[in-house]
Symmetry: C2
DNA sequence: CATTGTCAAGAGCACCGCTCTCGAATTTGT
DNA sequence: ACAAATTCGAGAGCGGTGCTCTTGACAATG
């Protein structure tokens, strides 16, 4: 009974996968706003109306692609971290940074989908935010490990304002227990810098200056490792 | 004769302005990809085909809006710098950073237009890049003034790789003569951080952590001032 | 075997960017 | 002052879009 019912559901799951694959392929030529359900259906040899059996609207297809993208990026970063020597925090940090950049350069349109400007009337559903948190959580885990081992340098620079300290403490209690608020703020700065650099590179802002960007990126990632207090 | 010719051209310039204004207004509800010439024409009470007398294509309208946006942002930053005490480099720096953020928060859709993901098939024409350079040039000018006065601290951190040094020197020769390559690299990092932070705030990545972002932004801008070597 | 649920397909709606043509208005040249 | 040249707005129309609704075929269920 379950096996029989699965027969139909399996072909359905397969078709959903094919639709997403084709949509991803089209994303490469026409980005988010230009994704055409009709074109996807045409390429798959089916009527456009049939697609609505699988995705109730264009935005739902887009949402599925966004979640997939966040997950793929998170997966890539987590694998990069796992492959790095666990004792070498800076190596883990650099591996994660490079994993983000490599993934973004390999799937620029999927990256633009999740870190570019929000799509017109699109409202990100709940499911996306947990998927989006995987990368920052990975970076924080590195810092927690290093802090627990007592190898994290104390943050420098002007002291933080009370409000910012309170905000950081609140966030820390939920996802970074044990990490000093100053470190967490530095981590948010570094996290911003990481994606800012990748975005600027992908969106062409470095053309004419630090292009190719490989060495600049490595230098930036190292500066950020310094900022959060990782040992050299 | 000139006055007569101007009569027609004046109403033409006026209409171009109205079209751009209305397009900007629509950008607020449907972002770049969803900008509709027909809707603009409808709102202006004219036939959609008439718009093509003023903008040969939708992309040309978009380009005009993009250049206007870059210019408006550049103007805002330059005014902020001019209003700051010329002798206080950090005050100038902070004023510029806050000017970028304030402008972006006041016109989020125009900001997304120029610093979000590139529009589908859109290729940025030459005119945009000079307009885009105004903000980074302003930041570099602050550093040049301070360096000329001998008040710029020496960059810290690991030494840069030869390739990156060479890239920085090349850029420096064109737009930042006299500025050490290490400072220029730090400036590019800071420039990236500035827009990365503004983008993350506007695109909702800080929701749930450092939101509201006012104090975090100020702290970040100060850290970046430290990074480029500005005195406290 | 009949019923029930699922599915693809087609027609159709309102919208889009864009092109072309045509008549009216305006500017220009004489 | 009048004719020629240019500019302009409007309309029709092309092929495309997302999306809805209906219809008829198929497969799974009892």
């Amino acid at each position: 009974m379950n096996a029989v019912r699965t027969a139909r559901e399996r072909v359905r799951a397969e078709l959903i996968r094919e639709i997403k694959d084709e949509a991803r392929r089209q994303l490469a030529t026409a980005s988010a706003g230009g994704l055409s359900l009709r074109a996807v259906a045409r390429e798959l040899g089916m009527a456009s109306s049939a697609l609505y059996r699988y995705f109730p609207s264009r935005d739902d297809l887009l949402t599925a692609l966004i979640i997939d993208a966040y997950d793929a990026l998170g997966e890539a970063v987590e694998q990069a971290d796992a492959a790095a020597p666990k004792a070498d925090a800076r190596a883990r940090w650099m591996a994660c940074c490079h994993a983000v950049r490599d993934w973004a350069k390999a799937q620029p349109h999927e990256y633009a989908l999740i870190y570019g400007s929000p799509v017109p009337g699109y409202q990100a559903p709940e499911d996306t935010i947990s998927a989006a948190a995987r990368v920052p959580l990975m970076m924080i885990e590195i810092l927690r490990d290093e802090h627990a081992a007592g190898r994290l340098a104390e943050p420098t620079g002007a002291p933080l304002t009370p409000t910012l300290l309170r905000q950081a403490k609140e966030v820390g209690e939920q996802i970074a227990r044990g990490l000093p608020a100053e470190v967490l703020v530095a981590a948010i700065i570094a996290w911003t810098q990481l994606f800012g650099t990748v975005s600027f590179e992908l969106f062409g802002q470095y053309v004419g200056s630090v292009d190719p960007t490989d060495e600049f990126f490595a230098a930036t990632a190292n500066r950020m490792a310094d900022l959060v207090g990782l040992p050299a």
